[in-house]
């Protein structure tokens, strides 16, 4: 039911024409669509019932949220469901500071659209009488048009997580265009004052809260990417059935059939891994297990989507290389998603850091 409703909404509100209209502009998504998503409860899926959301407890709700994200990924709508609805929302849920409750409520009703900003290693955060003073840089922050930035410092720095509104003195935002037509913000902070009331997560909690949020975002990004693969594969299979050369549909040629099958297998395998991760995280696991599940899901989805998107262009031939044909939207979104929060290679390394020592089953 959830999936059906999501599919209908995505079909209505993420048509290719609107995706095109949002490209290379600021804001890079439509506020009214975002409001509709909030009203439907899409931004409350990962928020615990105690905070007015739909999740049975903090750190759960991934499987349900996954159904929405999957459909949104299939449609490739530009609204920041992953960056805000998952990454920022999960960070807020896992936080414990005075800014949490009110800001979480405002995020759920789309009154605020926060973006998580991981500050570079050189950043400084100095305790002052009435709050903190922050200097530093953060890159690849999305959505670029966020109303607020949730500052997170390097793990091990012992710093809290803080909220800073866009337009705060000392905060400078530069927009870097992404290949799918959305933007990524490059933040530069110089002696930005953050008052006590904007403390999101205390120093003792901030690191684990941001790692929880990262893992949730990785897993749901993987789910989103399997949705994108579904669309690319459906388009490609339809093309193979209808495009005629040498007197028959090109989908009758075995060389092309086997490539299409490999694309299908890549999609299904990535979906199995991502769904499995949702279920296991919802059921509860250690932070190392969660990191392994998340990195496996993102690595698998990244590698699969990379292959599926490239092969789709090949099977379409020259038309697949045009901007006019909608495959271009999904190819460019695929490039963005593969790199976002780390590509497949990076997540193989992260998995290796978190995996338990290998024990052979039977060698």
């Amino acid at each position: 039911m959830l999936a059906d409703a999501a599919r209908q909404f995505a079909g209505r509100r993420a048509a290719p024409a609107r995706i095109r209209a949002c490209r290379n502009r600021s804001p890079d998504f439509d506020a009214d669509v975002w409001k509709d998503m909030a009203e439907l409860g899409w931004l409350a899926m990962l928020v615990p019932e105690d905070d007015g959301g739909m999740a049975s407890s903090p750190g759960t709700g991934l499987a349900d949220m996954g159904q929405l994200v999957y459909e949104w990924g299939a449609a490739c709508g530009p609204e920041p469901l992953l960056a805000t609805g998952v990454l920022a929302a999960s960070l807020l849920v896992a936080s414990d500071g005075p800014a949490r409750a009110d800001f979480l409520a405002r995020t759920m009703e789309a009154a605020a659209v926060p973006a998580v900003a991981w500050l570079d290693d050189g950043a400084s955060c100095t305790r002052e009488a009435e709050g903190w003073r922050v200097s530093g840089q953060a890159r690849f922050v999305t959505p670029a048009d966020a109303t607020d930035f949730l500052l997170v410092f390097a793990p091990g720095s012992g710093q809290p997580a803080l909220r800073v509104a866009a337009g705060t003195p000392g905060l400078h935002v530069t927009r870097e265009p992404r290949v799918d037509g959305t933007g990524a913000a490059l933040l530069s902070l110089r002696d930005v004052r953050v008052p006590e009331r904007d403390l999101l997560a205390r120093a003792g909690t901030a690191a684990s809260a941001s790692e929880t949020a990262r893992d949730h975002a990785l897993i749901l990004a993987a789910v989103y990417m399997t949705g994108t693969m579904r669309t690319i594969n459906a388009m490609t299979q339809e093309y193979l059935r209808t495009r005629t050369q040498f007197g028959k549909p090109i989908g009758a040629f075995q060389a092309l059939q086997h490539k299409a099958v490999d694309m299908h297998i890549a999609e299904q395998l990535a979906r199995d891994v991502a769904q499995n991760a949702c279920v296991l995280v919802d059921a509860g696991c250690t932070s190392d297990q969660r990191a392994c599940l998340a990195s496996r899901a993102k690595a698998r989805a990244g590698e699969s989507l990379d292959r599926v998107a490239r092969m789709a262009v090949q099977l379409h031939g020259a038309i697949g290389y045009t901007d006019e044909y909608d495959l271009s939207l999904y190819l460019n979104r695929a490039l963005v998603l593969s790199a976002w929060l780390g590509n497949a290679d990076e997540h193989v390394r992260r998995y290796a850091r978190h995996a338990p020592p290998f024990e052979a089953a039977n060698a």
Binding site: R241, A252, Q257, V261, I265, Q268, L269, A361, N362
Partner: protein
């Protein structure tokens, strides 16, 4: 460990909880399965594994997949999976049990009461050992193009032709044969299903030495082989249909993560022996393959859940065999690369204080993309039945 577990034939296995059932199977295997036969590096012949199967027969466990009225355990799909999982976990060698896997289920579904009475008890008693006469020199992937012929002659049929790639035919007492009974009918339409005694004039078995030096595969020559008419199973000329319908959910085992896991274990040992464990390049490769096996397991579990719910296995199951076998081959290749120069040595070899058959996983993985329907045929099936691409 329980040395005398309850193996009574009266036990209603399906009424036990999954955990209880699993524990009973596990206890029995751990207590009774001969240690020297765990995880053999090749298929075992009847003179090696026969004793174990006779024991299985004695305690009523020889046919877990058959209904109880025919001497089986009558396990439901979920329990049957557990039964096989525990066998794999303990490294129990499965005999090429074609009588149990194929002939029994076939006769139970399509056989006459007389056929059932004649053949089933002897399979249960390990008196008859069956091999499968399907492939022919010119009918492999295109099995329906088979040319072995059965001609009606009085109260029986006379069969002429040749079968090939017959696993462990040298041990079999009987063979089931797909043979053409109507040369004029369309390819699939004129085929019938026969049961034949191997110990009769006209049947000759010739082992085929494989690239690993083993002789598990055979050619079977059929020259004027007489079979009584009552050895035809089902309706004449409709053997293809019943042979196809036999592809039950056991197909899922072709896609189990057992072999990739085994190869990964060998890879870890080779890495240890060759001092590669701390090499960053190798560590990355190993992590990739380990993730691959875990991902494959997640996919396998999706299909297992379908089977447990008692639903029919969807045609998408073909992807599982592709993922499993290609992963197995990739890991087996990595074992050889990790072993360096030892990759040229045959059989178990000394390696850094360990003894490892470096080429073992390779030789087991190599034919896995060929048997059970080549991976190319599996891709054809997926293209046709799942992706609905034109032909």
């Amino acid at each position: 460990m329980n040395p005398t577990p309850d193996t009574s034939r009266a036990t209603n296995w399906n009424a036990l909880s999954d955990e209880d059932f699993r524990q009973r199977i596990r206890d029995y295997l751990e207590a009774h399965y001969p240690g020297e036969l765990r995880y053999p590096s090749r298929r075992l012949f009847w003179n090696e594994i026969g004793g174990w199967y006779r024991k299985m027969s004695e305690i009523g466990w020889i046919a877990p997949n058959w209904p109880r009225e025919h001497g089986g355990m009558g396990l439901d799909p979920a329990k049957l999976l557990i039964f096989y999982e525990e066998h794999e976990r303990w490294g129990v060698s499965r005999f090429a049990d074609m009588g149990i896997l194929m002939v029994g289920p076939l006769l139970i579904r399509h056989g006459t009461p007389e056929q059932q009475k004649q053949w089933l008890p002897r399979i249960i008693a390990c008196e008859h050992l069956w091999c499968q006469g399907y492939s022919e020199p010119n009918a492999g992937s295109d099995l329906a193009g088979l040319r072995t012929e059965a001609v009606r002659d009085g109260d029986g049929y006379v069969i002429n032709g040749q079968k090939i790639w017959t696993t462990l035919a040298q041990d079999a007492t009987h063979i089931f044969i797909l043979a053409r009974t109507d040369k004029d009918a369309k390819k699939q339409a004129g085929i019938s299903f026969f049961l034949a005694d191997m110990k009769q004039p006209g049947i000759r078995v010739r082992p085929i030495r494989d690239v690993a030096g083993h002789e598990e595969l055979n050619e079977v020559f059929l020259e004027n082989v007489r079979v009584p008419a009552e050895n035809l199973v089902g309706v004449p000329n409709e053997g293809w249909k019943i042979a196809k319908a036999l592809l039950g959910f056991e197909r899922i085992f072709l896609g189990a993560p057992k072999y990739p896991n085994y190869a990964l274990g060998v890879l870890a040992r080779v890495a240890q022996a060759c001092g590669l464990t701390d090499d960053p390049g190798f560590a990355l490769q190993f992590a990739r393959l380990r993730m691959q096996v875990e991902d494959h397991t997640a996919c396998y579990e999706r299909f297992i859940d379908i089977v447990k719910r008692g639903e029919p296995v969807p045609p998408d199951i073909s992807m599982l065999k592709i993922v499993s076998t290609e992963s197995f081959q990739a890991i087996a290749d990595q074992v050889i690369r990790a072993a360096g120069q030892a990759g040229q040595l045959a059989g178990p070899v000394a390696l850094g204080g360990d003894t490892i058959d470096v080429l073992g996983p390779f030789f087991r993985a190599l034919p896995s993309t060929i048997y059970g329907g080549t991976n190319e045929i599996q891709r054809n099936v997926l293209a046709r039945e799942v992706l609905r691409l034109p032909s």
